[in-house]
């Protein structure tokens, strides 16, 4: 009962008011514009993401966070974004949207602890592990291994999502969603190579989803 109250309190927390208000008002125009098409790698991938998890996706452009909010519409996303966005007037909006600042070239402990804390509170942290917007070649770049370290530290799964680039603004948004990847196979102590190899495994999963999205 107490747990239910906690979840209810979290669901209707005032700090999320702006996020929820914008999300609800933008939902209908976004869904009309996107006409999302959901593809799943398996039956398991169709299951809704519950509790703390990391969602990762390829990065085609500035529209991607909105596309991801449409792809996993039933959860509040905490986007990991460049700390430069938190400077100036836009900072307020990024804070209201629960974004987490990060220095992609110099991952620091504060950002890392912040992300792990969100994950341990059962929230969904969403990031683009390539660390930059695609150069337009549609090639999925090497993933930064920080995402693996965050998942290992929090013992939370990683859900790969592929956002198919749209050639024209009127094309449908195609989202390919994969099965949650468990990091527990890495064990308690990892080596640098294991962490890098796991990041490469995630990239392979993303490529599989890319193939799925391109077939259908």
């Amino acid at each position: 009962m107490k747990n239910n109250q906690t979840n209810k309190a979290r669901l209707f927390a005032f700090k999320n008011f702006i996020y929820d208000f914008v999300k609800v008002t933008a939902a209908i125009p976004t869904f009309i514009m996107c006409r999302p098409k959901y593809l799943y790698s398996s039956k398991e991938a169709k299951k809704r993401i519950r509790g703390g998890a990391i969602a990762i996706a390829n990065h085609n452009g500035f529209f991607d966070p909105i596309a991801l909010m449409a792809a996993i519409w039933y959860r509040r996303h905490h986007f990991v974004c460049l700390k430069q966005f938190f400077e100036g007037k836009s900072a307020w909006w990024f804070k209201q949207f629960g974004c987490i600042p990060i220095d992609k070239d110099n991952l620091d402990m504060e950002s890392f602890r912040n992300i792990v804390s969100h994950l341990n509170s059962g929230e969904l942290v969403t990031m683009f592990p390539e660390g930059h917007i695609s150069d337009g070649s549609d090639r999925i770049d090497v993933f930064k291994s920080g995402v693996v370290l965050m998942a290992v530290r929090s013992r939370k799964p990683i859900v790969p999502v592929y956002l198919k680039p749209r050639k024209h603004w009127y094309n449908r948004c195609v989202f390919a969603i994969g099965e949650a990847v468990d990091v527990n196979s890495l064990g308690q102590k990892q080596t640098f190579s294991q962490i890098d190899a796991f990041a490469e495994t995630l990239r392979d999963k993303e490529k599989e989803l890319e193939a799925l999205a391109n077939i259908k």
């Binding site: 110099n106 991952l107 402990m109 920080g146 640098f192």
Partner: protein, 85 residues
């Protein structure tokens, strides 16, 4: 926990040697003056991993540190030494 500078260095070296299985640096090449990024080839994620392992081994809490805060192994040893005092 009171540890000599040498004991801290040895423990830190063990952490790095056990984690760094890439084979790019020989174990006997490690010294206090070894540069983390340029000589040992550590990335910001590797340094973060090292910091987490240090916290667990020495029972200390690092303040907000990043890749640019430590240049050499000796800098890390000095930081741990300061935290253990």
């Amino acid at each position: 926990m009171q540890l000599s500078r040498n004991a801290i260095y040895e423990k830190l070296k063990d952490i790095l040697i056990s984690a760094d299985d890439r084979g790019t640096v020989d174990a006997d090449k490690y010294s206090e003056s070894s540069k983390l990024v340029t000589e040992l080839g550590l990335t910001s994620v590797n340094i973060l991993y090292m910091v987490i392992a240090i916290e667990e081994t020495f029972g200390i809490y690092f303040d907000n540190v990043g890749m640019s805060d430590f240049e050499t192994i000796g800098d890390v040893v000095t930081y741990i030494e300061g935290k253990l005092k």
